[in-house]
Structure formats: structure tokens, C-alpha cells
Amino acid sequence: MSDVMIDIKGLSKWFGDFKVLSNINETVKKGQTIVLCGPSGSGKSTLLRCINGLEPFQEGDVTVDGTSLRNSKTNLNTLRQKIGMVFQRFELYPHMTAMENITLAPRKVRNLSRQEANAKARELLERVGIPEKADDHPANLSGGQQQRVAIARALAMEPKAMLFDEPTSALDPEMIKEVLDVMIALAKDGMTMVCVTHEMGFAREVADEIIFMDQGAIVERGSYHEFFNNPQSDRAKDFLEHIL
């Protein structure tokens, strides 16, 4: 058994003539929490979307838990069951309750019975701290609560890894902590996580490593302390000056 969860090799991607990702080579080990940061437009979100096949790429390969995205035999739907994803704007299904949001994929993809799926969803809502919101629609939940339901929805498929795309950037300050607390607990539980975020408190607490991107390329990778106390590149120094 390999201890690598996500293996990115020579990944490049273009939008038309514009190269958004340039020869990315990174590995994420099982159980690691990686924080991906960098200026806007640096390709962080695009890289994240390449990992679960939401964005196609032209060169290189991504392997998740031994399954290659480049392999034409790979079923993307099956692969995505292994990787949960959380979006900046929550993206809950507005016509469904929190419970229905969480149980849709387990019931339709994993063919769980409604009862089994509901039991699992209750457990997850408990875990993210809002068991009383099961029957509410997203419109009746605060941003922080919606994002926690979105995390529960991703966890319901029992993924082996989780991708977070700026999960707290659309939240009011007082709601950021409730979402980060859930993410911190998840990381401490041993979930493999790749998080695009500028929440440096979160990075300090749980990130095994920080990857800094700029202009579609990885500029630096290192521990929190290495990155903050001794950034190697000028671009990283410049970036840190702006966010701290």
C-alpha cells in the first residue's frame, strides 16, 4: 500500500492560449493537510478542480488513491466518490432540506436506503454541530450553517480525501470560526485535506505543509514555520506582506 493519496505529475492546463497551470508536480500523503495559498488568479482553485476531474487538463496526470485521471478507463463518477469537495459559496441545492442535500448522493450513487442515509446524515449533522437544522432549507440557514451542511454533504460519501475551495471567504467574520473548527476537527481525525484558504490561523494549527502558488506554478512548499519565517522567493515575501 502506497502512502500517497494524491499524486500530481507534470500537470499543465490552458484556457485557450492562456496557460493557467504550468508543470505542477506535487504529492499529498494520506492523512496530510495541505494549505494552498497564493494571489488571486494564481491557479489554486483550478488546480483543486483538476484533482477531482471538474476541470480537464491537457498535459500530465493526477492519480488519486491509485486511480489515474488520464486513464480513459477511469470512471470519473466513481473517482469523485472518493474525494469530497467544498465550495466557496456552499452550493447547497436550494430546493432541498439540509437532510435531503446530504442524503441525495448516498441514496442515488451508493444506493443506501432512505433510512440508512438519514441515519448517517443525522450523525454527520451532529458532527458539524447543527443536528437541529436537518429539516431546514438552505435559505433558512446562516452562511456558516450552510457551509457546515456542505461539509456534511461531502462527508456523507465517506471520501478518502477532501478538497476545500476558499470555504470561508464568503462568510461573515463571526461565522468563519464555526466552519474552521469543523475543518480542524476533520484534519485532526486524519482526513487527507487540500485547502485553498488564506486563514493562516488554520494553517498554523493543522497544516502539515503550505504550498504557495503564483502565475500557475508552485513557487514554494514547506512547513508553516518555514514558509512564514523564512520565505525563499520574493513573490512569497510580497504575498505574505499583503495578507499579514
Binding site: 469530497g84 430546493h95 448522493a105 450513487v109 461531502a154 460519501m157
Partner: protein, 221 residues
Amino acid sequence: MAFDYQVIVEYLPFLLGGLLVTFKLAGLALAGGIFLGMLVGLGRISTINWIYYPVSAYVNFLRNIPLIIIIFWVYFILPIIVGKNLNPFVSSVIAFIIFEATYFGEIFRAGYQSISKDMVGSAYATGLTYWQVARYVTIPIAFRRMLPSLITQSIITFQDTSLAFVIGLHEFVTRANIVNNLEYRSIEIYSFVAVVFLVLCYIGSRISLHFETKYRRANVL
């Protein structure tokens, strides 16, 4: 001159027969217009040029011509092209379908476009297939968002059917006109026609409002 209800009562079967034609025309125009509109909507968001441009040309062309002209065209010009006379009913159905499809098409286009890329992405990310995403996420949300507009456009279509009068289709308004020519009771007859349209369309707009309020509250709109 007193308001004479008698004329309405006397010709009621004849008038209601016309209303039935109106319902049939509206029903076929809506069924055909909405179905064709779904495809037109897809054509309008297509990234394939040979689909997008012809469909857009069709929409822009028809939407900028008065409906009455389209009705005339189909009735007078189409027979020359196909070499066969069309009766007013068939001709009206064709005219309404091709005209209303452009309006329904724009409603469908807006509905499809209102669903964000990330919403679809979040559904795919849980492992749902293309058809599952369409069945449980995209279509239900788009349909809820479009429903008020679809009902409103249906009401407009229903009212517009009275334009088939110009090619002599025996629908509600045409028959009212015939009765008027016989009885010279314009106020009674046209008021009756107006009230019937008012009641039917008002019910329709209340239904539309009901769904709009419901979905707005649920933050789906």
C-alpha cells in the same frame, strides 16, 4: 338602452364553441411552443456555431415582427411554398408555435443559465452522473425559477390567440364579432368577452404569483 343579458344567453352555446376553439389553439400553441422553446433555449446556449447562429437569427427575427404579420405570413405565404391551402386553424397553430417558441426559448435560456457552474460542480463532486445531476439538481431548480415566467407567457399566449380573428378562425372573439354583426349589441357582447378573458387570465396570474412567492421564500429564485 338597457344592458341586455338575453343576447349572451341566447348565443352562449355558439360563443362557448368559439371559446373551445380558443382553448384548443392555445393548448396546441403552448404544447408546441414550450417543447420547441426548450430546444431553442438549448440552441441559444450552445457553443456550437452552426447551432447557435441559426437559432439566434430565428429568435431575433421573429421577436421583432408583430405576431399579426406572422399569422398573415403563415396563412398567405406558406400555402404558396408548400403548394397546399391551409385551413385557418392549422395555419394559426403553426404561426403561434413558431412565434411563441422564441419567447419560451428565451425563458428556458435564462433558466438554464441561472444555474451556476459551481452548483453543477458540487453535484458532480459527490459522484452523481450527468443524468442524475440533470434529474435531481439542474432541471428541478431551473424549472422552479422558470415557472412564474412560463405561466405569465402562457397567459399572454392565451390572450394572443384572439389575433387569429384576422384570418377568420372561428375562435371566441371571431364568434363574438359574428354575434355582434347579427344583433348590434356591442357593449354586452364585447364586455362578456372581456370578462371571460379577465377571469381566466386573473386565475392564471394568481397561480403564477403563488409559485413565485413560494419559490422566492425558499430562495430558489
